[in-house]
Symmetry: D3
Subunit: 318 residues, 6 copies
C-alpha cells in the first residue's frame, strides 16, 4: 500500500485509508450539487480528498474514523496535494485491515510503556512519594495506553504521552547518575507526574486530540495534577502541608518554568530545574525527529515548527 | 506626639515610638565603637535612627518591636531624614502606650471586617459554594484579624487583607447590581477566596510581612487557595469534578489575569473577568490613597509606585 | 421573524433583513455568471448570503443599507453558516419595517443617554471644568445620539458611545462615594471627555464604524480631545496653562494608561488612575456581556475576544 | 587651568571651578562634625569634593552656582575620583572668571543658532505653515538661547536644544535634496517644532535640567507642542481642522515613532518618517561624540550610554 | 501600453506583459477542466490572471519569465483586481519588447552604480581596509549589477542592492563631513561591506528573490560577510587579529543593531552607530518612496508597510 | 584551616588565604589615614577584609594574588560578613601553601579534561570535521587547562570551560545513543566548538575572568569561533563553501538559540537543536549545583541566580 507521505502530484492511487474527516458540502453550481469533503489518513500522514458525485446512499455510508478502500488521483490545490476520488467503498472484514494500523503510534507498545512507568514508580524509595505517584497513575492508567502528549506540538500520536514519559525517565536516570546531588526519587516522581493530568485536560481518540475538556480549559493540566496530589494525600492520610506534598506539587506546578508558559511558580529546587530542562530536551528533539520522519523524501526542509521558535529543519544528506 | 511623617530636618523630637529594627554595629574608628542602628516607627511612617554611645546595659535592653521613649534630632543623611538619638529609655506601663497604636491599620476595626466577610459568605445562595467559602474562611479567620494584603504593593498594614476583601465586596455588589447577567454568588465567593491563602503564603506580625513561607515560595497563594477548595470539597463530600468546584478553582486560579502575573489560566467566565478588574481597581486606588496619606504635607509628589507602572502621584491643592 | 443568531443549518427562512453588504461578483464558469454577494443583518447579528441568479434589473435594485424580504436556506460554508437566497424583494412601506429595528443598539434610548451626560456635566461644581466639558459635548451632541464606542472591541453599536459613558458615570459615582479623597468633578469630567472625540476619529453610520477619518488616523481621538480642551479654554477665556486645563488634558491624555496603548503620558493624579480602571472595567464587562448576548443558544463558548487577552468566554448553565 | 576630565588620582590641583552642588553634612564622629559635600564642575566635566573643616563663616559663604578657587588632592573613593579640598575661597572680580566659561556649551554661539532657526522658518514657502512655526518659535525664543535638549540622554548642555535643531536642519536639507518626493517645508517645520516645547517641559539653568515642570510631567513636550499648534491656528485665524494643521500636529505627535517612546500616533506621512530618523541619527551620533569628548585621555571605553542600547563606545587610536 | 498599476475594474486591456508565474490548475467541474493561473507583471507592478480555456498546445507554450501579448478584462476577485484573459500569444522578436523593460529597476544604470561603489572603494585611504573591501566587491561584482537588496522589505528590484549602497554612500559622505570625529574610511568600508553577502544569501533572478540559499538560511548574510573579511585577510596576508580586521568585522556584525534583528554584537564604535542609522534612514525612506510610486493614482493610502511598524502611508495632495 | 564559606559572625580566624584584591584607601578622619581594602579568598568562597593600621612597609608588601596568613575577627557590615584583620603576613615557602589550593576548580584534573576532549575529537569519523575541530582545539589547548566557562553565570572557576565541555560530551553521547537519527560526529564537534573561543573573548587568570578582550567585546566568542572554522578550512584546504564547513559554522553560530541571546541564526538542523539544549541543561544544573556547594550550612536558600530566571534555590533536608 502506498504511504500518504510518499504521494506525489499525478499519482494514481488504490488502497485502504482511514476517513479522518467526512463532511457533505455543496458546490456553487446552479442548482448546487453535494460533494464529500474528506481527509484520508494513514500512519504516515494525511491528505484532503474530494468525492464529487455523491449518491443518497453514499451520504448514509461514509463517516469519520471508518476504513475505506479508495481509487483516485493526486492533484495540487493551492500548492498542497489533495486526492480526487474516483471510486470508494467501505473496507470489509475480508479486507483484513485494522484501525490501529492506520494511525501514527509511539514506536514501543503501549503496554510496555505503561509497564516501564509503573515499574519506575514502584522503585521510588520514599514510600509517601511512591504512593502519591501510584495514586495518580491509577487515575489514568487506562488512558496512558493511548493518549497523545499534546494536540500538535510534540508526541501528538497514539500513546505519545506514555512514550514521552518513558524517554524522559531514561534521560532523567542518566542525569541523576551524572549529578549525584539530585534526588532520584524526585526526578522520577516529577517526570511521571508532570503531564499526568493531560488525559483529563484533553479529549482524545486514537491518539488524536479532538478538543480540550471544560476542566482543561478552566483549570489546565498543571492545576489538575496539583489537585490530584492533594486528593492522594488526603486519601492516603498524608499531611497536605508536609514537605513531601509541597515538593511534589512544586515539581508539577513549576515544570513549564515561566508564568507566560503556564507555571504559577518558577522552579526553586534542583530537581524542578532538572525536570523542566529534561522535558524541554525530550519534547524539542522528538518534535524534530517526527517532523523529519513525516517529511516526503523529495523535500529537504520541514515546515516551520512552532516548538523550535517557528523554524524549519533541514535534512542533510547522510 | 509628633507623627513621623511630619518630621522635618532640624526638628528636636521627644516622644514614644516603636523600635521596628534594633541592630548593634561598629564604627570604622580605631578601635571600633559599638552603635545602635534603629528604625523607629509609628502609625504614620518610619525613620532610621542612630544611637552612637552604647553601654553594655543598652545592648541587653533594646530589641525589635519594643516601645521606647526617645529624645533626638532629625538630620539629613544621603538626602533622607534620620534621627540622631540623644536619650532613650524603654516605655513603661505607666507611660500608657499600646503597641497597636504605633502601627498602621485599616480604618475599620478588624472584628467588623471579619464580621462583614462572614456575613457575606453566609448570604451565598448556593449551598455548596457557601460551605466551601466558609471552610476556607475558617482556616484563616484568626489571621484575617491582622494580616496585611501584601508585603509592599497595597494594603500593606494591620488587617489590610480583610479591608481589601471588604472594599471589593462593596464594589462587587455594585457591579453585580449594575449588570444582572453576573452571578452574585460567584462574585462574592471569588472575592472572598481570591487572596484567602495569603496568610499561609507570607509570615506577618503586627501587619508587617517579614518574609514568605516555604509553601508561599514553592506554591504561592493562588495554588494554596486552589488546594483548599479541593480539601473543602473532600471534607464536605462534594465531587471534586463538579462544575461548582471547577468554577471556584477557576476564579481563584485566574484572578491575576496573565501568566506572567502568576495565573496558570486566564479568566474565561464573566465573573472571573469581573473579579480580576474589581481586584485591580481596589488595589490600585488604595495604593494611591495610602501613598498620599503618608506623604509629608510639604511634598507634592509621592515616590514612584510600582503598582501603577512605577509612576509618582501628584497631590493637587484642593 | 427569526433572529439571525438563532439560524441553524438547514433552516428554511422567510423574513425581513437589512442588506449590510451587496456586491456583484462573477462565478468561474465559462462564460462567467453574475451573482450577488450579500451580508444580511438584524439586531441580533449578521450572516453572509448568496443570490446565484441575478437579472439586469436586480443589479439596479439592491444596495447596502436597504431593507429586503428574503426566502432562503441556511447552509454551512467553510464551517460557517451562510444563506442561499431563493427569493428576494425590496421591503416596501406597507411592510412596516423600520431601519433602526434592524441594527444593534444600546438598551437605553439615545435621548435619555445624552440627557444623563448633559445633566452630569451641569452638575460639575467647578465652573471652568464645567464649561470646558459642556463646550466639548456641544461639538458632538448630535453624534452622541448614535455613535458606537469602537469599531469592534466594545460597545460597537448604535449609541454605544453614550451608553459606555453613562455606565461609567454610574460606576464613577459609586467609586467617588466609596473613596472621598477623589474629586468627583474630575471623575465626571474625565469620564465624559475621555472618548468624546471618537465621533471625529471614526466615520460611522447606524452604529457601524465604516472607517477611520484622516484626522483619526493622523492624530487619534486622544489628541483630538486634547485639542478641544485647548479650543475650549481659548473660546472661554481660560488660561491654557492653568491647573484646570492641564489636569483636564492630563485626564484625557493618560486614560489609555500605557504608551503602547496610545497614551503619551501615564496617569499621575488619583482621578486619572480611577478613570483608566473604571473605563477598563466597563469596557471588558460590556464586551463579555455582548458576546454572550449574541451567542447562539446551542453554543457554550464565545469566539476568542481580543479585549480579554484573546480568550473565549464560557456560558454556564444557570 | 587643569580641566576636570584630565584629573588623575594623586593630582595636586589649584584652580577655579564652579560649585555645582554645596551641601553641609555631618560626620559620624562623636560629637559629629560639619563638612561640605561639594560637586565641582567646569566645561569638561564634574567631580565630587569634600571640605572637612567647616567654619561658621564658611557655612554662610559657599552656595551652588558660585565660582571658587580651590587647592586640593584627587583621591579615589569607591573606584571614582573625588577631591579632598585643602583650601578654598570665593572667586572675585579680579580673578576675571566668567560663569559661562565653566559650563558645557554647544560649539556654536547661541545667537547664531537661533538666527539659523529663524532664517529657516522664514524660508518655509507655505505661509500658514511658516506662520505657525514662527508663532511657536516666538514662545521660546529667549529660552532657545540656553536650553539643553534633554536632561541626560543627548545634547545635555547650554544651547544644546538649538544646536540639535540646527544640525538636524542641515541633515534635513540634505535628505530633502536627495529625495525630491519629500516636501522641504514639512521637513523644516517638523524639525523646528518637534522639540520646541522642551523649555516648557523642563526647568533648566545654565544648560542643566534641574527637574521637570508640572506641565512637563502631566502632559509632556509632545502634547505641549501640539497644543501650541492649536493656539497658533486660532491666533492666526487658520481652521484647526485644515490639512496643514493636522499635518503639523501629526509631525509633532509621531516623532518618537512608537507608543512606548511617547508618541500617541505612529508616522504615516513620508516627512514624519524622515523626521523621526533624522532626529534619531543626530541624537545618537551627538551622544557618542559628546561621550568621547569627555572621556579621559587615559581611557579607551566610555561608560555604557543608555541612548545606544546601553552599550559603551570604544575609542580607536587614530 | 497601460501600466499595471493603473488597471481599474472593468478595463479592457491589450498589451505586452511578463509572465511572472504560469501554473496549470483544474476547475472543480465534473469532469474537471484545465486552466492557467498566471501572474502578469511590468515595471509598475503585477496582477493575477486566469486563462479559462487551455488547449494542449497552450500547455507547451507558456512558461514563467516569458513575454506575452494579452487581451483581457480587469475584474475584482476577493476585493483584489485580477485579469480574465480572452486572447494570449507569445511575444515575438518583431514585437520589439525587451525583458528588462518589464521589471522594476533602480533609477540609475547598474553599470554606473557599480562604478560608484568601486570608485569609492578605491578612495579608501587605509590600504588594508581598501584591499579587504575590494576583495569582497570582487566576489559579487557581477551580481551587484542586478541583485535586489531584499526579498520584500526595501529596494526589492533589479540592482536594488547597488542602489541602496550608493544612496547610503551619499548620506555617509555628508555625515562624515558634518561630524569630523568620524573616520571616513570606516564609513565607506562599512557601507560597502554591510550587505555585500546578500547575493550569497538569496537566489535572485531579474531583481526578484526566489528563495534563500542553504548558506543564507544556515549562516545569514551577516556571518557570510564576516567570513569574507577573514578570507580576504588570509588571502592578502593581513593578520586576522589586527585591529583593522576586527573593526571591519565589527561593522558588518553589528549593523543590524540588536540581537533580535540578527546582529550577534551591538555597535560599539562611532562608525558602527553611524552605519546602522544611515542604513535605517535609507531603507525606510526608500520603502516609503517605492510604496507611493506604485500606489494607484486613485488611492490615498498605501498598504501597511512592515518596515515602518506596519503602518500605511498617506499621500498628500501637493 | 577554616573555609571561608563556614565563617560566622564573631568567629576569630587564623589561617592562610589568597589576597584576591588589595587596595589602599583613606579614611574620612582629619587627617585621613590609610587602610587596606582586601578581598580574601579560598576554594570555598571569598570575603571582604579591612586592615586599619597600614605602615609604609605594608604598602610595599601586599598585592593581589598573593598568599597571606591572617588573624582577624568576622563582623557584619551592611548585613554581609567582612573580616577585621588584626595581624597579617606574607605566606612563606615554609608554610607549604600552593596558590592553586586556594582557588575554586573543576572537580577533575585539567589534564584529564583536556585529554577527554582531544580523545573525543580524535574519534570523529568524518575526517574534515575532525581536522577542523582539532585545528580549533590546538588554538586554545593550553588555555583549556585553566579557563573558566564564564565570568559569573556558570562554571566560573579554574578549568570550568573544559569541565563544561566534558560533561556536555557525556550527555551528548547519551542523547546520540538514545536518538540514532542524530549524527554523533556533529554532536561531538558542536559541543567541542561551541565555546572554544571563550579564551579569546575573555581575559582570565587562575580561573577568574578579569575582563573581556577588545575582540571579545567587538566580535564575541560566537563570531570568533566561526572565524576559526574559516581559518581552519583555508589552512586545511577545505572548500569554505562545502556543506561540512557551513554545518560546523551553523552549529557554532546558532548555539545560543535566539538573537537576543547572541545567535545571528537559529538552529535549523537536529544536531544544532540538540547542542543548544544539552548546553542549557548542563549550564543550568551546574550553576545550581555550584550555588548549593558554596551555600553556608546554616542557610536554606541560595541567592537569586540570574541563570535560572533570577530565582533562588531551596536546599532540602535529605
Amino acid at each position: 500500500m502506498t504511504l500518504i507521505r510518499t504521494f506525489t502530484e499525478g499519482d494514481e492511487i488504490t488502497g485502504y485509508y482511514l476517513l479522518k474527516k467526512a463532511e457533505i458540502k455543496q458546490t456553487n453550481a446552479a442548482p448546487p450539487k453535494n460533494y464529500f469533503d474528506f481527509v484520508l489518513a494513514d500512519s504516515s500522514g494525511e491528505i484532503p480528498a474530494k468525492l464529487w458525485d455523491v449518491s443518497a446512499a453514499d451520504k448514509e455510508t461514509y463517516f469519520p474514523m471508518m476504513l475505506v478502500k479508495v481509487q483516485g488521483l493526486v492533484q495540487m490545490y493551492r500548492e498542497k496535494p489533495q486526492m480526487k476520488i474516483n471510486r470508494i467503498r467501505k473496507a470489509t472484514e475480508e479486507d483484513g485491515c485494522k484501525l490501529t494500523d492506520f494511525i501514527k503510534s509511539a514506536p514501543i507498545q503501549p503496554i510496555d510503556l505503561v509497564h516501564i512507568i509503573k515499574q519506575t514508580a514502584a522503585g521510588i524509595q520514599d514510600s509517601e512519594c511512591r504512593s502519591v505517584v501510584e495514586f495518580c497513575i491509577s487515575k489514568v492508567e487506562e488512558r496512558l495506553m493511548h493518549y497523545p502528549a499534546a494536540k500538535a506540538m510534540h508526541h501528538a500520536y497514539y500513546a505519545g504521552l506514555a512514550y514521552h514519559i518513558c524517554r524522559m525517565l531514561e534521560l532523567g536516570e542518566f542525569v541523576a547518575r551524572q549529578r549525584p546531588f539530585l534526588n532520584p526519587d524526585l526526578i522520577k516522581a516529577g517526570i511521571i507526574l508532570h503531564d499526568i493530568a493531560k488525559p483529563e485536560e484533553m479529549n482524545a481518540e486514537l491518539g488524536i486530540v479532538t478538543d480540550y475538556s471544560l476542566k482543561g480549559k478552566l483549570l489546565g493540566h498543571i492545576s489538575l495534577a496539583a489537585n490530584w496530589v492533594i486528593e492522594a494525600a488526603i486519601a492516603l492520610g498524608i499531611d497536605v502541608s508536609s514537605e513531601n506534598i509541597v515538593i511534589l506539587q512544586h515539581l508539577v506546578l513549576s515544570h513549564h518554568n515561566l508564568g507566560e508558559w503556564g507555571s504559577p511558580v518558577q522552579p526553586q529546587i534542583p530537581e524542578a530545574i532538572a525536570l523542566h530542562y529534561i522535558d524541554t530536551l525530550d519534547a524539542k528533539l522528538q518534535a524534530v525527529e517526527d517532523a523529519l520522519d513525516s517529511l516526503p523524501d523529495s523535500e529537504e526542509w520541514t515546515q516551520p515548527l512552532r516548538i523550535i521558535e517557528n523554524k524549519p529543519i533541514f535534512r542533510m544528506r547522510k
